[in-house]
Amino acid sequence: MFFINATIMTEKQPPFRKLRGYAFDPSMSLEIDTAPINEILYKVPWEKSLEKGPEGEYIKVLDWDPSSGAVYDPVDLNDQFILANDGLEPSESNPKFHQQMVYAVTMNTIRNFEKAIGRKVQWSPAITEKKVGGLRKRIWSHVPKLVLYPHAFRGANAYYSPDRKAILFGYFNATPASVDLHMPGSIVYSCLSHDIIAHEVTHAILDGMFSRFMEPTHPDVAAFHEAFADIVALFQHFTFPDVITHEIARIRGQFNAENLLGKLAVEFGKASGSHKSLRDGIGEEDKKTNEWKRKKPDITSYRTEFECHDRGSILVAAVFDAFITIYNKRASDVIKTATGGTGILPDGDLNTYLITDLANEASKAAAHVLNMCIRALDYCPPMDITFGDYLRALITADAELVKDDKYNYRLAFIDAFRKRGIYPDGISNLSVESLVYSGDDSPLMDEIMWTGDLRNFIENFKNEMSYEEDRERIFNNTRSFITGDKTRSELKNYKPKIGFHKFLVDLVRGNYKNELQFEKRMGLVFSDHYSDLDILPSPTYRSIPSIEVHDIRLNNRVGPDGNIQNQVIIMLAQSCGVKVKYDEKKSEYDIKTFPRNKSKNYTDGSFVFRGGCTLVFDLNTNCLQHVIPKPIVDMELLNQRKPVYKPNRSRAIMQYRCQCGDYADITGIRAMMRQAEYLSHIHQPKSNNNEQY
């Protein structure tokens, strides 16, 4: 989001910098049908101190090509000739244009996120280890800029490297399946594909919000990462007005025909030996006729597809399906008006007014869906996300912001997920009411919320963060709210901040002495029973369980009805060591806990097991509005009359199966964990074993 700087200027800063670029990728400029719409103007927020590179507040484009041993001259987007021309002209042979393209798409994606979540995008922090007095201490530090390497390696791939907070784009010589699809031997640059850039940047943004989503604890986690990145890239197609008008005209307003809007990375797919785009959100090729057809939802696929991209495409298809339902509903009014109520379109091309109206409806619906998808992130558990959790998050986020669901958005989503057999755990039916995460309105919580301390803490946080624009200060202030801050004690009137960590423990253990109630709500261990699970004691406060405060965020949004959301979101986590053994004869799992050692890498059925929860505090109504738990403890045993503390059995088994057991190969997780880069994992085709049998 762009915020006008308060300093007085003689001339007003322009709100946008216009940059030319490809809407899809260079291959589309070579086809008569798509050439006119492929070159578009990206309007990215004007950055005052944009340097050569380009290098701005969020990103640094660094064009070092290690395989060629070359650095390509960085583009200066403030050069007057370049400014006057809306940036450099699209060109495959000019690396400066490549830099511009990467910058434009990345900033565009960041802007879409900031619009939806209502706060600044942060990259995941750098974690370093230092030895302090014989103890290893981990330090979290702010990463101001993501580094983008447009020509990082030779290969048909591009990936976000969480270790280096960088995106590496590859380039390669095309080896198409047939010569009419792509010129063999010509060079394909992944950094010129809108979809690939948007996809990778989304990985980076997601990692900034949920660093634990890199841990493959469930087949859905890696699939979610892929799916979400695809969703953002896909729905950004709908933000390009010329593209959407063109495609809506071509498909006559009906998404049952093959179209570019639902496809990802066409050039990349064709150049690397496939007949089609890398992925298609809505359709697929018929294996026999090679003709495009709309994908039919398959109720079993969620139970049979495990490879992370295949599985992710189920989620993408569900979201796209929901979008089409919403669009059809919106479009039917427009079509009825245009056809005198019959709803039957005349043959031939549609008239331009109708196309414009339909395109408007499509882009509106797409913007809403994209916003919903991004906003839902605030209501996700801090780790181990499943598609079912995400559905609940979608519905919770939307029900809260948009009270009146007149276009039935929520039903469209529920229906699309249901058709694919995706059901959240632990709810009795698929109604909106049961999907929305409940909060805690018990008298105890009520008392806590009104008695000052917690409310003060949350309000302090809100006041301090509300108007803060500097990303580094936002990061450091948030850290100080988490860990406490005694550093500025020399300041007059400065009260040392108590970190939320200490605050929470005092609250739960000290003042209210009702640990069990909190444990039952959040699925974490606050009482002395933490040693039952071998959860380590807090290194700072000793003799109380260690709890990690992942993040505290401010959620400040305005809904379509003008209602203002005023929430503070806190994410907590806890961990212990778990060792699982599988007895094949009895087909039984045996689960044991052990105190984990942070600097050790475990193998052989042992792993770090995490639980956590996301708390959403509402400042308007002054209550704990939602609790989104991922329990570390076994809730069934905890809820007994005499509670027993054991690690959450079903989650521990699932993590074991994914990382060491029967799912490790079919999900690709075993291979992923052996790779230098987690996200460099390309789509692995299934063995074609059964094709002929």
Binding site: A70, F153, A156, N157, D163, I187, D665, Q692
Partner: protein, 480 residues
């Protein structure tokens, strides 16, 4: 099938007429990084099994350590054995223009890749030792280092510069030279075989027909370069990461030897000059506090894949052949042939030549196969599907798989990939459980024993079990 102490091929075929030994044949003798004493036991047993210390025919399938190291390590024993005749593929003929082209291309690429990896490995090691306070980066550097080391191991397996063990001074090419020189028949046309040739009426082996199936002799080397044709495979190799090997492989010959870098796709005017580059990189990339964000090694993440692809070239130069017995049944020895080699057996001209010279096409030979030496130790692309296993129609086929699973080197993809499970299951199904492996003997996994009980009589099963009575070798007797 001898146990040579490691993964490797060593087959001794002894033919008898009316109870009298008439003809002996040795196909390869090697083990990957095996020990002298282990493989010498096998060589000694070969010597003890033949008549007059003479082998009638020695076949060298291709230039790899796991097929040939015995001729270096157990040389003292082989010195006392006479090789009447030696066969190898046309690719070993150093005068053959196609062979020259093939090895020149390969040699250049291997050299380039070695140099690249060696220089990067040195700096990976250095980075590993310098103070890296980023715990996750330590992990990825470690993986990259192993990957590069595997690649080098793979390349030296293929390159002629080194051979481990006691015969370190001897190269694989020395083994070939040694065998060539030992051959009593020196005529080139009799030594180097091309597909389509059929050899009949060898002295002592009257009634046997030897059909030469591969390696393909086509001018564009297309068949040899085709190591993985997906439609011909039951399993895909479990690869790590990037699918970049082909791209890197294609451009390896553009490596500049001085700067150890590839040719940039961009015009020179866009490049920073050396001085500007140094200054620009010093402002961020090369700063000490930013070292953790460098991307120096990513482009070599596919090095191991590339080196495997390079060695697959050589596997595809395997002399693949079939022996037709007087009763029409067939013994099949494809060595380490991979997709392209298998497929070429059915090419029009090969098919025609086989039919003309021996009266059988490759397809007909496959149909009658009763003994199958499993290709390339049971790897994912060592047994073709439509061009191979599916065409075998005999009811009782025995498969010998030269595999010692726990000796499969990490550089080959490790024991995870050998045998390739989906293929392994198919072979067990095809043979109804009659699969004999070097390491385990008669196999018992994947319901092999159930299959056997259903299809074979007790005496037949006993014969299979007896095949591995001796720990040194597995033995199979076919009576005609």
């Amino acid at each position: 099938m001898y146990h040579t102490g490691s993964v490797g091929d060593c087959f001794l075929l002894l033919f008898e007429k009316a109870g009298v030994a008439s003809f002996s044949m040795l196909i390869d003798c090697g083990g990957y990084k095996t020990k002298k004493d282990l493989i010498s036991k096998a060589a000694q047993d070969i010597k003890d099994s033949i008549v007059n210390n003479t082998i009638d025919l020695v076949v060298i399938t291709h230039e790899h350590e796991d097929h040939l190291s015995g001729f270096n390590l157990a040389r003292t024993i082989f010195d006392s054995i006479t090789f009447k005749q030696v066969w190898m593929s046309w690719a070993e003929n150093k005068k053959d223009p196609l062979a020259i082209q093939l090895f020149k291309e390969k040699g250049k690429k291997i050299k380039a890749l070695r140099k690249l990896i060696e220089s990067k490995l040195a700096s990976v090691k250095k980075s590993q030792h310098s103070d890296l306070s980023h715990p996750r980066l330590k992990r990825s550097l470690g993986i990259r280092r192993t990957n590069m080391e595997h690649a080098l191991e793979m390349l030296s397996f293929d390159d002629e510069t080194s051979l481990t063990g006691l015969a370190a001074t001897l190269k694989i090419s020395d083994a070939i030279l040694y065998v060539k020189n030992k051959s009593k028949v020196k005529t080139k046309s009799k030594m180097y075989k091309r597909p389509g040739q059929v050899i009949k009426d060898l002295a002592g082996a009257e009634g046997l027909k030897f059909f030469m199936l591969g390696p393909p002799y086509d001018t564009d080397l297309h068949g040899i370069k085709n190591d993985e044709e997906h439609s011909e495979m039951y399993a895909l190799r479990k690869k790590l990461g990037l699918s970049t090997e082909n791209y890197l492989l294609n451009i390896l010959d553009t490596v500049d030897n001085r700067s150890l870098s590839l040719t940039s796709p961009f015009a020179f005017e866009y490049h920073m000059n050396a001085k500007a580059k140094k200054e620009y990189m010093a402002t961020f990339y090369n700063k000490r506090e930013n070292k953790w964000r460098q991307i120096e090694y990513d482009w070599l993440d596919s090095a191991n894949e590339v080196s495997i692809a390079l060695t697959d070239f050589v596997n595809n130069t395997s002399l693949a052949f079939a022996i037709e017995l007087p009763n029409g049944k067939v013994l099949l020895f494809p060595a380490d042939a991979q997709s392209g080699n298998w497929m070429s057996w059915h090419d029009n001209d090969v098919e025609k030549a086989l039919k003309n010279n021996g009266g059988r096409t490759a397809g007909e030979l496959l149909e009658k196969t009763i003994f199958y030496k499993v290709g390339h130790h049971g790897s994912h692309n060592g047994t073709a599907k439509g061009s191979g296993l599916e065409r075998m129609k005999e009811k009782k086929i025995v498969a010998f798989m030269p595999l010692v699973q726990d000796k499969v080197p990490g550089a080959w993809g490790g024991s995870d990939n050998f045998p390739a499970q989906p293929l392994y299951i198919k072979i067990i199904e095809k043979t109804n459980g009659a699969v004999i492996r070097t390491d385990t003997g008669l196999v018992n996994d994947h319901n092999a024993s159930d299959l056997r009980t259903n299809k074979y009589s007790d005496t037949e099963i006993k014969k299979m079990k007896d095949a591995s009575k001796n720990p040194l070798y597995h033995e199979w007797i076919v009576s005609v």
